[in-house]
Amino acid sequence: MGFLTALYALLFYFAFAVLIIGVGRKVYQYATTPAPLKIPTMPAPRTKTGAALRVLSEVIFFRSLFRSNKWIWVFAIMFHYGLLLVTIRHLRYFIEPVWWWVELAQPFGKYAGFIMIIGLLGLLVRRIAVERIRYISNPSDYLMLALLIVIGASGAMVSFVTRTDIVQFKAFMLGVMYFDWQPIPADFTLLVHLTAVIALMFIFPISKLLHAPGVFFSPTRNQVDSSREKRHLAPWAAELEARKS
């Protein structure tokens, strides 16, 4: 068993644990923190189904962003949907036999990487060129885009330029999953790609990437407009009432 194989296998376990526990902890925190007041941005849906559709319109179409700024919207859509297709395509390295819909996504997923990179570059250019966005950017905001671009670019390199023994890589990945380690193909570009992905997994629960679970818990988007009809009371507010009256 080579050093690299052991190193990457262990890193994957560790990164996966950090990602799951970290995001899980955050989701738990969001879910259990009460929202004491009805604060949906009005006009808001009058039913739970309506509110769920409103959240989905944000998650799927980035509706508010579309109303706000078409350039950011275009680049954000390119990046996120590019990433989605690429991720679906990557499922083939984790399952055997490969599901039919993953097969179906294969040709699209290969080129979606470029869409994703163009989207990321667009966002990066805006971050540097637009004075207002430059003002609000911290080093981490640039590094996050850089990391994602490294992931995208190294992935495209592996796919289209340097190539790697992809059958061997799948054996490695499945080996990591089933605790039956197989040697990792020691190609430089592939290792860059994997290192960047592992870094992203570590960073996810401690960074602004928490917008992904956060959007589902945003009270301004997921609350129903029913305050006059139905009394909304947080547990701590009920305690306050009991104490004072």
Partner: protein, 499 residues
């Protein structure tokens, strides 16, 4: 044009986003409240010695109590969507008036004390210790936010800067740093019953004077009752309606509508205020204390319904929070929503044909309508989504022949704040108020030039007062602003009316 000690912004030929000018609005902020104002609200009288520690403790407490606050602190990706949406950014060009930059004043501290990245890599993620400089920035820039929520409409995660500025003010209050304007006023409500500190005899006098005015105008004896037990409706209206122009013309409008509808109603001297500045300072407890006065008054007077007058943030508290803060209202008539807006009442009367209306009496006016932010983005009307946009316009059109809307980018949920909301309607913030009014003034100028609009109607006491003050800075007459119920009042013909 009014004289100003500062440069009044000029109308932009095209609404391009201004170049940023860092720190142009840096100052000591509005007047700081006195110890007695702080203590009346259960806050320390002045900045406590260990304020850094206490502020962080309070922030932690609020993160556990308010899901919105917690999610908003984590979720921002600095995409920039909100950066050009704030009227104060447009009017002042100070980058800290970009919604995300305003949020970051709190977020940088959140990151330093509550996140892994901020604890170990502060420079990387822009995390900062809570120092006196940071506190000064908080005090200054969180009092340059009118909590209008326009930015939250455009945020892909619905991050609401209003919630963050409320949280910031609550944190500052809890360490003894409060704003004089808001806190002094809340104290007056607790002590006397309204923001103005108008005691019962003075209020009675005012309302009697109003009855005389209406009788003089119309020849009809219309009652404006105070503290009448057993009335059907308790009217809760902003105290500005009792004395300020054009508010008072609106109050006469409500009285005429109630009279024509044949319902019995009353104002309460105990709850003679619709406004609830507890919201502006982000204090659940103070907001609740103010709200409970309305409940108590309704119970004492034995009314069946509660109707709110024209007031923006009051209607947000009433529509969205009152049931939570002071409910359940099971002692009121279940056939009516609790509470109702006066426009819902009037609209209902118009639809039932109970009002005799002569629209031509408003022919001297060509009217546009200013959607008040708290009504537009913080409440509803009529039980239908968007009712808060439809009902006021339908009422105006029912009493007035000439109506034109302003540009679609500046109405409905995209409406621009008047510049004076959120506890900023104080003379020590006049420069900010004038500059913040720029986008609304531009939209108004557009309909004035293109449609010959002569007047702008509003349904918020703060908007009306603010516009009265700032219109002259932009070359308009201060009387260009009207109450919606003033238009109703002009057009309604009462039974037996003589003129």
């Amino acid at each position: 044009m009014a004289k100003a000690k500062f440069n009044v912004p000029t109308f932009r030929e095209y609404p391009i986003i201004p170049e940023l000018k860092p720190d142009v609005m840096k100052s000591d902020g509005p007047f700081i409240s006195y110890p007695q104002h702080q203590e009346a609200l259960n806050y320390p009288g002045e900045l406590v010695d260990n304020w850094e520690e206490k502020a962080i403790e309070k922030m932690g407490d609020m993160l556990n109590k308010y899901r919105g606050f917690r999610v908003f602190m984590d979720s921002c990706v600095k995409c920039g969507a909100c950066t050009d949406k704030c009227h104060y950014l447009i009017g002042t060009t100070d980058p800290k008036n970009m919604p995300v930059a305003r949020q970051d004043l709190l977020r940088q501290v959140y990151r330093r004390y509550f996140t892994f990245a901020g604890k170990f890599f502060p420079k990387l993620v822009g995390a900062k210790e809570l120092t006196k400089d940071v506190l000064d920035d908080w005090y200054n820039y969180y009092h340059q936010c009118s909590q209008c929520r326009r930015c939250s409409v455009f945020c892909p995660y619905g991050i609401d800067t209003a919630e963050i500025s409320m949280a910031a003010r609550e944190i500052m209050d809890s360490v003894g740093l409060g704003q004089k304007y808001c806190n002094e006023i809340i104290g007056k409500v607790f002590k006397i019953g309204n923001n103005l500190g108008l005691p019962e005899p003075a209020l009675r006098d005012t309302l009697e004077g109003l009855e005389e005015d209406i009788e003089y105008d119309t020849g009809v004896k219309v009652r404006v009752p105070l503290d009448e037990e057993g009335a059907d409706i308790l009217l809760v209206t902003p105290s500005a309606d009792f004395f300020a122009e054009p508010h008072i013309d609106g109050l006469m409008g409500y009285a005429k509508v109630f009279h024509a509808a044949g319902v019995s109603w009353t104002v309460s001297s105990y709850a003679s205020e619709a406004a609830n500045f507890g919201m502006f300072i982000g204090s659940y407890e103070n907001m609740r204390r103010v709200s409970l006065r309305i409940r108590e008054a309704a119970q004492q007077l034995g009314v069946k319904r509660i109707v709110f007058g024209e007031c923006g943030h009051a209607w947000r508290v009433a529509y969205s929070f009152l049931n939570t803060l002071a409910g359940p209202f099971d002692f009121l008539d279940p056939n009516y929503p609790v509470p109702q807006h006066i426009l819902e009442f009037t609209y209902g009367m118009i639809q039932e044909g109970k009002l005799t209306i002569d629209k031509s009496r408003n022919d001297e006016y060509v009217v546009t309508f200013h959607d008040s932010c708290n009504v537009a983005r913080g409440s509803g009307m009529g039980g239908i989504p968007g009712g808060q946009f439809i009902i006021p316009r339908e009422v105006i059109k029912a009493v007035c022949n000439n109506f034109y809307d302003m540009s679609p980018d500046t109405i409905h949920d995209r409406t621009y704040c008047c510049g004076g909301g959120g506890g900023l309607l104080t003379d020590d913030l006049m420069e900010l108020r004038v500059k913040g009014a720029l986008p609304r003034m531009e939209a108004l100028k557009d309909v004035v030039d293109n449609y010959g609009v002569t007047h702008m109607a509003a349904i918020c006491a703060i908007c009306k007062s603010q516009f009265t003050k700032v219109l002259p800075y932009y070359g308009f007459g201060m009387d260009k602003i009207l109450s919606v119920h003033q238009l109703v009042s002009n057009a309604v013909i009462l039974e037996g009316q003589t003129d």
